[in-house]
Symmetry: C2
Subunit: 280 residues, 2 copies
């Protein structure tokens, strides 16, 4: 078999949690670069990265990224902007930078001002777990990755970033950042908000009688509050819009129940069930 040429010489990953750690493992597995560097914020993660050799070199200092030709920012949404500013003074001019933030509009707006060679990404992969211990190269396989280029995005960088996620096994779709945020409000952010609220609203004494449906629907409420606080705040406008649609329909359902309108209820459920089958 012909050896595939590496996409990059040196890649640097900032943040070695579930997402950053998984990228590191996948980059090694698919031989994406000659060398993989990592930046860890906490001492604990730094030590773990050394112990498990999740990257070739790890540091707590951004200077390690000075020769990288790709840098991936894999930290919570709120810290991505600060880190971008810090690394902008260190990395090479031609170094491509991407991030894995779940909200894109604000990040893209700020990062492309700071970094000459930035492309926004959002790999829809992961779980409710956090931390390097749960890192797994397989989480990307057959999942969706949305990239959010702008008029400023360099076409060579765009195609390299697209290729990068594809090599990891992802289906890559491109769309403007504001549309990404609108769609993800519906398909991910609001669902998480609902799950947190379902748990919050359950009387404590009822916990032990929870049906399988409750457990399954609230698994995502096990996710990191810090991570989701950032996402909810950052995309609050779109989330509030999607919430209005959700609550308007919920109050239609409430009226149907109050009126005991079996015909309307049947139609509502059937329409919903048929729509859901398209997602199998």
């Amino acid at each position: 078999m012909k050896k595939r040429q590496e996409l990059f010489k040196k890649i640097g990953i900032v943040g070695l949690g579930l997402m950053g750690g998984s990228i590191a493992l996948a980059a090694k597995k698919y031989k994406i670069s000659q060398e993989c560097l990592g930046v860890a914020h906490s001492k604990e993660t730094f030590k773990k990265a050394q112990k498990y050799k999740i990257v070739d070199k790890v540091s707590r200092d951004f200077k390690i990224l000075k020769d990288a030709d790709l840098v991936i920012l894999a930290t919570p949404v709120e810290t991505i902007k600060e880190i971008a500013l810090l690394i902008s003074k260190i990395i090479k001019k031609e170094c491509i930078v991407t991030d894995v933030g779940s909200v894109k509009k604000e990040i893209v707006l700020k990062l492309e001002k700071i970094l000459p060679n930035y492309v926004g990404s959002h790999p829809l992969a992961g779980s409710h777990h956090t931390g390097m211990d749960y890192a797994d190269a397989k989480i990307f396989k057959d999942s969706l990755c949305i990239i959010t280029p702008t008029a400023k995005t360099l076409s060579n960088s765009l195609s390299k970033i697209k290729k990068f996620w594809e090599v990891l096994g992802m289906h890559v779709v491109s769309m403007p950042a504001p549309l990404h945020d609108r769609i993800l409000a519906y398909t991910s952010h609001l669902p998480h908000l609902i799950a947190f609220n379902m748990v919050y609203s359950l009387p404590c004494g009822y916990l032990k009688y929870s049906a399988p449906s409750f457990k399954e629907m609230t698994r995502v409420a096990l996710s990191s509050p810090r991570l989701w606080q950032d996402i909810f705040i950052n995309n609050r406008k779109e989330i509030i819009m999607s919430l209005k649609m959700f609550t308007a329909n919920l109050s239609i359902l409430e009226k149907i129940l109050i009126k005991k309108d079996i015909a309307k209820l049947g139609l509502f459920l059937k329409k919903s069930q048929e729509k859901r089958t398209k997602l199998l």
Copy 2:
């Protein structure tokens, strides 16, 4: 190994869908009775039951139940009451009857008037699938079964029904039917209503971008609209009450987002996440 004595001589199952079919398979597996009879409503289910020998004898006529000493009603909530009336004229006086309806107050109230030897049950098992094809003896293992005796319930029947579900592998808990309906509104019925509403509220064009969280949280919206329509209508008062709590907290979250109150949001999410960890 000593052969366990059968709990019953002849058991009859009315409705051979996912739940009735699974009970038939489990009854055979755990040798619960000498003979297992089935009543199928549709011609299709009747033929399938014959072909797969899911019960020892199958009929479309309730008369098959005349010698049974246990009858389990495993049909949608709305038909349980009619069927109870029909079989009350056929079964032996000492025959124990139970049902598997997900709503209990109304059913228990009516059935104990018609049947001298009735105990309400709700095995919290199953899936979004319907029909005998998905029947599986294992669905009961380690799951919860709530039984709802009243002052009228005969203690011998109660202990036999409790034993029956325990032999199937279930943890049996006993509580009054109205409390069952209040708790299940929160832990199962409202979650299903929310899932149907999440799918209903999603713009169709966004379906293809659904994140894993959306898929997982709306899997139950694949459930039978007919089955759930009955449950929602039957337990509408409790569901409306639990919905009021859910929407009140959702509007707290909305205000937090509008005000961008990061501290309050963090507390809300943390409280919710900590509560959810108790359910692992």
